[in-house]
Structure formats: C-alpha cells, structure tokens
C-alpha cells in the first residue's frame, strides 16, 4: 500500500482511498472490465459508473470524484463487489467516497447527506431509529412536497400501527453516547 | 599389563545416585571388579579423602568412572582434579554424558531454582520463614565458612574437562557396565572420545513391526493403550527410539512404553532434540499450516521436555535464553 503511494509520487488520491477503505489495496488490480458498472441497479442514473469512478481515482481526479453523484446512488446491493473479478470491495469504496465527500463538503446529493445526518443524529440521541422523526425532520425541511405525496402511504402505515408516534430510547443511552464520543475523538485523531 | 592392579576411582557429582546403584547392580560380578581393580577413591563405598587424591601423582589413576553433571564449584573442582589424576576419565551415565534430568533445570536459572527450593518449596518453607539462601561465604564466630557456589547453568562433564569415554544410559545397564569394565581390564578400549555402545538406534533392537510413517495426531502415553505389536511411534506415541543409541535392548518399548531417549544420540548426531524434531515433523501428515500447528500444539505441549529430557545441557542451546537485560543472579 505504501508502495503504491510512494511510487505514484504526486497522485495521492488513490492512496487516500486505499487508506480509508478496508481491503482497499485491491483497487490497483482493477481491469476496467465494467462488471461493476454493468451490475449496478442504479448504474443508469449515475454520472459515472463505479468503473469510471475507479478510473478517475486512478487518474487522481479527487475533486470530480468527490462531487459526483455515484456514491450517493449506491444502495449497497453489493452486486458489484460480489461480481468483481478482482475482488475489489467496490461498495466499501462507495462508503469511503461518501465519507470523504461529506468531510470535504463536496457531497452533491444533499438529500442523501441530510437523510444520513438525520438518521444518525436520532440514533445518537435515542439509540434507536425513529421513522416519524426522520420523516418529519428530513422530509419536512428538505422535501415538503414529497411529504404531501407520501401522505396516503404514511397514513396506511400509521393506521396499521406500523409507524410509532414517539421514539424509544434505550436504557443505557449514556453508555452508547460515551462509545460514540470516544469513536469521534479517535476518528479525529487518526484522520 | 603390569603386575600392579589397575587403579579405579568413582565419583558422584550432580546426579540422582542411580548410577552408583547401577554399579552395585552388577551383582556378584562386582567382586570380580573389586578383585581386578584397586579402588582408590569412591566416596560412597570406600574411605578415601579428597586430600588423598590431591596427593596422588597426576595420571596415577587408571580409570575414573565419573557420574553426574557439573552444577557447583565443588563439582567442577573435583572434575578437574580427577581429570588430572586419571589416565582415562569416563563420563558414566546420562548425567555426566548429557546432563540428564538435572540438566532440565537449565530451563530455569539459579534464582528461580532457589526460589522454588527455599521459598516456595514445601520441604523447606515452614522451616525457612526468613527465606534464607545458602551463601558461598558465611561468617560465624569461628571464622568464614565456605559453601560451593551453585552455578546458573548445569554443564556436562565434557563441557568442563576433557573426557575419554562415555558410558550412556540412565543409568547404564549392568551388562554394559560390565562389558566396558571388562574391556578396560583387557585393554580393548575403543578410540578415545567414543561412546561405548552400538552405533545404531533403539529401533534396531526393537522387535515391533514398522511401516512407512504418517502421523496425524500425537498422543501422551496415558491417552491410549498401544498395540503390542506395532511401532509405538506409528501409533502416535513420542517414541525416541528412532534417535536413541541402541544398547539397552529396547527395554522400554519391550514393556509397551515409548523410549524416552536415555542413551543419547548416535555418532554424528550433534543435537538429539533437533533430530527428533526434524524426524517427527517430517512425518506429520498435513500440509496445512494451521493444522500442523494444531497437531504439534495439542500433541507435544512440552517439546523441550519431550525431546531434550536427557540432553538439554548437552544440546547446542544448552539452556533457556536469558534476555539481555536480565542480570544473572549472584548469590553474594
């Protein structure tokens, strides 16, 4: 891994991705075969297919990669990963790119980042996810119209008792929060 | 041979005493020995003092049977003394030959041994609440008392002084002692430096049926009742007969018990344990590193004890490693 970073001299983005993806060392073996791009259920809607993203990482196109919508289209179906003939953990690379692009403020799909943020904020607070909370916070502020359209479905869910009105909080929330706090702290130190 | 009877000395250093008994076990023939030799020094049986030996001219003892390894300064002194005084110095029995069981203490150092004996040992502990240790020098009203220094490492006889012959075994078998002694009487000794015995291994004398060897699992002796006919090693028992010098008549395998290697290695084999390890690992039936490790770890939890039971002190490594920073304990 360090060898790649060393020998590539100037182009550090590849090294950065490798560093931040478990199993990322495999990236260098990409054949550009397109199995991933061909497999992706959202491939048609991506600005760049996963294969192209890997080519761009290779070409040190950091800015472009971190602002493309590709990772935000990824729904973690893992087809690419399981089909890649070079055992490259593509889905995990997508996660890595999401993290980097959030960190750099380059994330294009603000809906997805907002959803993610809402979700984890609630998790941090209650220790459980809370759909109504997500719906109201995320949709109300981000997509009021879609909330309107969601109406009948939400009603359906609610009447069947499939949507809770109040969040549940785990008993030992302090413990979870201590763990999260420590993780944040360690994360800061290492990155 | 001259008219005067040849002079014989026997001495006992770091050993269990079994070898002395073995000499007596030669039975009535011991009388022939007594008749043939002039026993000039044998602390357990004959009343002669060290002082008497010191006064003998150098080289005046014809044969000295020396058993036991060298653990203390006194033993070292005696080894040097008897070396000077003797024409032929024989390392008698496994302890003098290879260190034997006392040599296994080389897995520890002096400090640890003293701790075990004087601090944790049940024999001494209630009587030794102050945790006293034997010191080489003790001041008493009458003056200074000296005790032998207890060494950190047990050495074999030939690591201390030059040795002419080796008589292996723990203890040597009566017939072999007699044969050796007879050879001395008759002046038919092998070239100096030899081990008296056969130059092949116990398997040669073992009547068990053997096949090509492939071992999937090693067993400790209590785990299985081995078949009486076939080679014990093939049944997974750590039989050292493959590497142990023949001469005992395969005593142990004959009673369904694996050879533990008391006769030491053959000529040309420098390190008994290394050869045992090499031979056994060669025939482990697996090519998977994890499985191999498992077979070894489960079957041979104590490789040093299994392969160097008699020869640790004589092995190439001789003792357990003392990390650089650990100072050897001084008894001062």
């Amino acid at each position: 891994m360090t060898k790649v970073a060393e020998n590539r001299r100037g182009s550090s983005f590849l090294a950065e991705v490798i560093e931040n993806t478990p199993g990322g060392e495999r990236i260098v073996h990409c054949l550009q075969c397109g199995s991933c791009g061909g497999s992706c259920p959202n491939g048609a809607d991506m600005q760049h297919t996963p294969r192209a993203v890997i080519a761009m990482i290779n070409a040190n196109k950091r800015q472009e990669v971190l602002s493309t919508n590709t990772p935000w289209c990824c729904v973690s179906c893992y087809f690419c990963t399981s089909r890649c003939p070079q055992e490259i953990p593509i889905t995990d690379i997508m996660y890595c790119l999401k993290r980097l692009s959030i960190r750099e403020g380059l994330a294009q799909n603000t809906d997805a980042t907002a959803l993610a943020k809402t979700f984890t904020d609630l998790l941090d607070k209650y220790g459980r996810s809370f759909e109504l909370g997500i719906a109201t916070r995320y949709l109300l502020f981000k997509k009021p119209f879609s909330l309107l359209r969601m109406g009948p479905m939400g009603m359906g869910m609610m009447t069947r008792g499939r949507m809770a009105m109040f969040p549940t909080r785990i008993k030992n929330i302090e413990q979870l929060q201590a763990i999260i706090q420590k993780a944040r702290q360690l994360g800061e130190r290492t990155s | 041979m001259s008219k005067a009877k040849p002079k014989l000395a026997l001495y006992w250093a770091a050993s269990c005493g079994g070898c002395e008994i073995a000499v007596l076990a030669v039975n009535e023939k011991i009388l022939d020995v007594a008749a043939a030799f002039d026993i000039v020094f044998w602390p357990v049986a004959v009343d002669a003092k060290v002082r008497d030996v010191e006064k003998m001219p150098d080289g005046s003892i014809d044969v000295c049977l020396f058993n036991g390894g060298i653990r203390t300064s006194e033993q070292e002194y005696m080894a040097q003394l008897l070396r000077r005084k003797s024409k032929a110095l024989v390392a008698f029995g496994s302890c003098a030959h290879e260190g034997c069981i006392p040599g296994l203490a080389n897995l520890n150092n002096r400090e640890e041994i003293f701790n075990t004996v004087y601090k944790e040992g049940s024999a001494t502990q209630p009587e030794n609440p102050k945790n006293l240790r034997p010191l080489p020098e003790t001041e008493v009203a009458e003056g200074t008392l000296h005790l032998p220094v207890f060494y950190d490492t047990l050495k074999t006889l030939n690591q201390t002084v030059a040795v002419d012959y080796y008589l292996p075994g723990c203890p040597p078998e009566a017939e072999n002692i007699l044969a050796a002694v007879t050879a001395i009487i008759e002046g038919k000794l092998p070239p100096p430096g030899s081990v008296i015995g056969k130059n092949t291994t116990v398997c040669d004398e073992c009547p068990r049926k053997r096949n090509e060897k492939k071992i999937k699992k090693f067993h400790r002796t209590w785990e299985i009742i081995p078949d009486e006919e076939t080679c014990l090693l093939e049944q997974g028992l750590l039989c050292c007969g493959i590497a142990t010098r023949a001469g005992c008549g395969a005593l142990c395998p004959a009673v369904n018990s694996p050879c533990i290697g008391c006769h030491g290695p053959n000529d040309g084999v420098l390190d008994f344990g290394a050869r045992m390890m090499s031979a056994l690992s060669s025939v482990i039936d697996s090519e998977d590193p994890e499985e191999i490790n498992r077979i070894i770890q489960e079957g041979i939890p104590d490789p040093v004890g299994s392969f160097y039971r008699f020869s640790l002190a004589a092995s190439q490594l001789r003792r357990k490693h003392r990390p650089a920073n650990e100072k050897s304990a001084t008894t001062k």
Partner: protein, 165 residues
C-alpha cells in the same frame, strides 16, 4: 561497526531453486537490503536440519532465516512442506527456550520475488535489531566469581581435611 547501533548477524538458509535465485534477482535488480544477512545455499528448504538453525544461534547468530519455494512450487515437489512442519515444531521449542519469536523466520520466495525477499530480509533485520543481541554463548558463562570460588572451596577442603578429628 560502531557501538551505538547494534548490527545483528543474520544467517540465511536459502534453497537453490527459488530463494537463492530470488536473492540473485535482488542483486541483478540492484535492490538494496542490509548487509547483515549471510547466505548459505542449500539444495532445498527441506535440507535444513533444525540442528543448523540451533547451531547458528549457538554460534552467535542473532537471527536466522529459512527460505524456500512457495508451497506447491517446490523444485522437489513437496519438500518445502517438510520445512514448514519443522519450522512449526522448532518455533514451539524455541519459545519454550525463551527465544523471541522474531529471531527465526520462514519465508517463501519464488525465483521471481527478489523484491519480496529483500523486503523480508529488511524486515527480519529490523525486527532483530529491535530485540537486541542474542549473545547466546554468553548465556553459558557464570557472571561472577567462579574461579575465585573454586579456589576458596579448594582451600576449605584442604583445611577441613587436615583438621584432625
């Protein structure tokens, strides 16, 4: 060699077909690695008798490398598996003898892996350097007053024997 940096002495037993050639290749490719290793050529890693390894330590080596063809690629079909098993056994025994794990290493290097072999050597040298000298032969020496003690004992013996009952 200066006193400040400990320069370990490493002995390498390399098989004739793969590892020795990997070392040749490292040379041809001018790959650099520390000069601490001294290489002994054996026909096969299966020739390496544990006696050799112990002997190296006993004679002052601080580290030992055994290298052979990759499993499945042995010039002698499968003798490197025997080396693998001996190594496993030897490791176990050395641990019991208090020898640090990092002093002995088994490496697979094909004739094409000059770079890998060089890296393995570099790593072993670094690891052993960290451990410090082994100094095995010194382990046998008594730190202290051996000769003097013998003389005291001799004197005491003499005195004790002379004193009449």
């Amino acid at each position: 060699m200066s006193d400040t940096v400990f320069e370990p002495k490493i002995l390498g037993f390399l098989c004739n077909w793969c590892s020795y050639r990997a070392a040749d290749l490292a040379g041809i490719a001018r790959i650099k690695y520390p000069a601490n290793i001294r290489i002994i050529r054996v026909m096969c890693s299966g020739r390496v008798d544990p006696t050799f390894v112990l002997s190296a330590f006993a004679q002052g080596a601080d580290g030992v490398m055994v290298a052979g063809c990759h499993p499945g690629e042995c010039h002698y079909v499968d003798q490197n598996y025997k080396a693998m098993r001996r190594y496993a056994m030897l490791k176990q025994m050395l641990a019991q003898m208090g020898l640090e794990d990092n002093r002995l290493r088994l490496v697979w290097a094909s004739a094409a892996e000059g770079q890998q072999l060089a890296e393995a050597i570099e790593k072993l040298v670094a690891d052993v350097r960290e451990l410090g000298p082994l100094n095995w032969p010194k382990s046998w020496e008594e730190n202290g007053h051996r000769l003097e003690a013998i003389q005291n004992i001799a004197r005491e013996h003499a005195e004790a024997m002379e004193v009449p009952q």
